[in-house]
């Protein structure tokens, strides 16, 4: 399958499915069924096993034809994390049932991994799943769950055997978020808004047919999810000044009277690093395109978080008196985070989350040091003890 064949296939599909004359959902379903959803997925599951890079060919054709998209940012967790995991570990029935409405956006997904007591240490998750007949009863609390309030399904990491060491006693489930045992509460952040949720499960029911992977294999399944999360983050190409640096540079340009020599050098230094990070992102994508992604990618999120925090902290200082203000403390539930839609104080506070969410900067540094640089692990005290005996 080369680009030309694919382009033809897309055109042929469009000739039979005119987006201007079709219901959006019907169009998306048809696109899925035509194997043009994600071309690297297998036939019958929205693709036909083509090379991943070729997806861009399809997107270009469809975009040119004015086709509706599946609103990928809204359903990012499903697309980026749940789908690759279902593909890798799901049964045929699970794939058939779940992937199509996931891709079309009919069913939103959320991720139920983090717990109040298991943040960086995800493998210590304590949410219990107890076998009952042909299913499981799940009780516990998850946290930092975006989209939980709109989600139909959650990918859930739960403890099925507390007597085993922590990595061995986990299993991986698909939880029906409409189950009466599931309660979703908004979790307010320091910005005032609530992007995330807490999810409380009280004897929530999961049929065993909604298990992904074997019992006790949850950690391995979760690794697939997390690896895909890391790939998904920070992947988009941006133009120069496309990120937060653009907002801050704009504030600088608009405020000549607030400039000082000290702030000037700081800004140029931040600008330099932001631009270098952008170049490093371009370099990474060039590596990916020739099939040899470099290890530098693992450091991108770390640098991104630091820069976002320094830039936004700088901006508040630059604004001086106006930095004493905030735009709005109202408890809101935004669908998407948009740094540029809010003011400097919001950016400052929201950026604090960049070094926490999706793996803290501390955990990322461990990963870089051990997996990229090959430095030895620290002595571990938690890997051989039964989970129930771990100090917490």
């Amino acid at each position: 399958m080369n680009a030309e064949t694919l382009r033809e296939r897309a055109r042929e599909f469009l000739s039979k499915n005119d987006p201007s004359g079709m219901d959006r959902l019907d169009f998306l379903r048809a696109r899925f069924d035509a194997g043009l959803a994600w071309v690297h997925f297998p036939e019958g599951l929205g693709g036909f096993g083509a090379a991943r890079e070729l997806q861009t060919v399809v997107e270009a054709e469809l975009e040119a034809a004015g086709a509706p998209d599946n609103d990928p940012r809204r359903i990012g967790i499903g697309l980026g994390m749940a789908a690759p995991t279902i593909l890798a570990f799901g049964t045929d029935e699970q794939k058939q049932r779940l992937l199509r409405p996931l891709w079309t956006g009919e069913e939103v997904w959320c991720q139920l991994f983090s717990e109040p007591g298991a943040g960086s240490d995800l493998a210590a998750a304590g949410t219990r799943a107890v076998r009952e007949g042909d299913g499981w009863r799940v009780t516990g609390q998850k946290v930092w769950t975006s989209s939980a309030h709109t989600a139909r399904w959650g990918i859930l990491l739960a403890r099925t055997d507390p007597d085993l060491p922590k990595h061995a006693g986990l299993s991986y489930f698909v939880l029906d978020m409409t189950d009466p045992g599931v309660e979703v509460r908004p979790l307010r952040q320091i910005t005032g808004e609530a992007e995330f949720n807490e999810v409380f499960m009280t004897q929530a029911w999961v049929p065993d047919s909604n298990r992904l992977g074997e019992v006790g294999e949850g950690w391995r399944v979760a690794q697939t999810t997390l690896m895909n999360e890391r790939i998904a983050i920070g992947g988009r190409p941006t133009p120069r000044e496309g990120g937060m640096v653009g907002a801050v540079a704009g504030t600088w340009r608009a405020n000549p009277d607030r400039r000082t020599p000290e702030l000037h050098d700081r800004l140029v230094d931040l600008w330099v690093r932001a631009e270098a990070l952008r170049l490093a992102g371009i370099r990474l994508r060039q590596q990916l395109a020739v099939g040899s992604p470099g290890p530098e990618g693992s450091a991108m999120k770390l640098t991104f978080a630091r820069l976002a925090q320094e830039l936004s902290g700088f901006e508040v200082e630059l604004l001086a008196e106006d930095g004493l203000r905030y735009d709005d403390w109202t408890l809101r539930r935004p669908d998407l985070v948009d740094f540029n839609g809010r003011e400097a104080g919001y950016r400052y506070l929201r950026a604090k989350g960049n070094s926490i969410e999706g793996g803290t900067s501390e955990v990322l540094r461990n990963i870089i040091a051990e997996r990229v640089l090959g430095l030895p692990a620290e002595p571990r005290v938690d890997t051989k003890v039964p989970w129930k005996d771990l100090p917490r």
Binding site: W144, E321, R380, D382
Partner: protein, 367 residues
């Protein structure tokens, strides 16, 4: 030069701390900060009336405690540690110091008395971002028809029943005493980054006022320099809370089967923070000890610029090292982060203060 805490200062600290521990718990502060009345005026009346914090550096002959700026600094350390929403900076530091700089008779003396008991709360009508040494503000004019003009970002103004307003009239600059409860004064609370010391914008449209005799410019100057010196102590208290709270949390929190505080990378960051705090504390004590003395400006700029950086760093580390919980509204860490960031701006950002300091210590800039 005495950089230690005296026994009297320690006693004062423990009175203040006991009261704040009882009455200004984070949950209570959080519940209040988005309410109609973010300042806790009841707590303030107790602090002022019972502990006597609001007239500390007012001379005894003017009805005050006759203490020095050092004791004021100790109170600020405790208030920084608790981020209690009381109008200490606005009323007891800025407004009171300004009043002490003009002729302390007549209306100035009456107002000092009222502030000292907590019976009245004042705010000095200048932007909280005003740097020490700034020229006398020209935003408010004293006309035959009363005061006219506006001031933005005034600390503690929403809690004040009376304002001390720098205004320029036909006879030059003067400080005016202005009751808030009149048609010519509108105090508009701003949505503030710092939830526990909210700012407000004030407009004057023919406001009735009493001008105070005396050297308004030097009085305002003195208020700004004193506040610059003393705010460093609030930042020290705040940074210390952040360090202590983080250490306690990391001792308790377990991940990977170990207390998180046993991980070396975190230990080293906290050790560095401890080192910064040692510098911050020494410089803040020095600044408090130097108020009114020969080295006052240098020590105020040094302490405020340094402590601003340390407090923000401590608050940012506090949020980060608490992990997810530190990002939540229900955990108090954000109150400290917001105060630290606002304090960094208050009375001048560190870089702007360093630029002021340079010529005073013979470090001239590029030609």
């Amino acid at each position: 030069m005495n950089l230690l805490y005296s026994d009297i200062e320690d006693q004062l600290r423990s009175s203040v701390r006991d009261l704040l521990t009882a009455r200004a718990q984070p949950s209570a502060i959080l519940a209040r900060c988005e309410s109609e009345q973010p300042h806790d005026l009841e707590l303030w009346r107790t602090l002022a009336g019972e502990v006597g914090v609001s007239a500390l550096h007012v001379p005894e002959e003017l009805g005050g405690q006759g203490a020095s700026a050092r004791e004021v600094a100790v109170v600020l350390e405790e208030l920084g540690r608790s981020v209690a929403p009381v109008p200490f900076l606005g009323s007891a530091v800025l407004a009171t110091t300004a009043l002490l700089g003009v002729e302390p008779t007549g209306p100035a003396r009456e107002l000092l008395d009222a502030l000292g008991t907590g019976g009245s709360v004042a705010a000095l009508a200048i932007s909280l971002a005003t740097m020490p040494g700034s020229p006398f503000p020209s935003g408010v004019e004293a006309t035959g028809d009363g005061l006219r003009g506006a001031v933005r970002a005034v600390a503690d103004a929403a809690a004040a029943d009376v304002l001390v307003v720098p205004a320029v009239g036909p006879d030059g600059p003067a400080l005016h005493v202005v009751p808030v409860a009149q048609a010519g004064v509108v105090v508009t609370p701003a949505v503030s980054l710092d939830l526990t010391r909210p700012i407000a914008d004030i407009s004057f449209d023919g406001a009735t006022s009493t001008p105070l005799p005396g050297a308004a410019e030097s009085a305002l100057d003195s208020a700004l320099w004193t506040a610059t010196a003393l705010l460093a102590s609030e930042q020290v208290g705040l940074a210390e809370w952040c360090l202590t709270t983080t250490v306690a949390y990391l001792k308790d929190r377990h991940q990977f089967g170990r207390p998180v505080g046993s991980f070396q990378a975190l230990k080293h960051r906290l050790a560095d923070l401890f080192g910064e705090l040692a510098l911050a504390r020494a410089s803040a004590r020095h600044a408090a000890d130097s108020v009114g003395g020969e080295d006052a400006r240098v020590s105020a700029l040094l302490a405020n610029s340094l402590c601003s950086e340390v407090a923000v760093h401590a608050a940012e580390e506090c949020v980060q090292l608490h992990g997810g919980i530190g990002m939540t509204w229900e955990h108090p860490a954000h109150l400290y982060l917001k105060r630290a960031k606002a304090d960094q701006i208050a009375l001048g950002t560190p870089g702007r203060l360093r630029a002021l300091l340079a010529p005073l210590v013979d470090l001239p800039g590029p030609r």
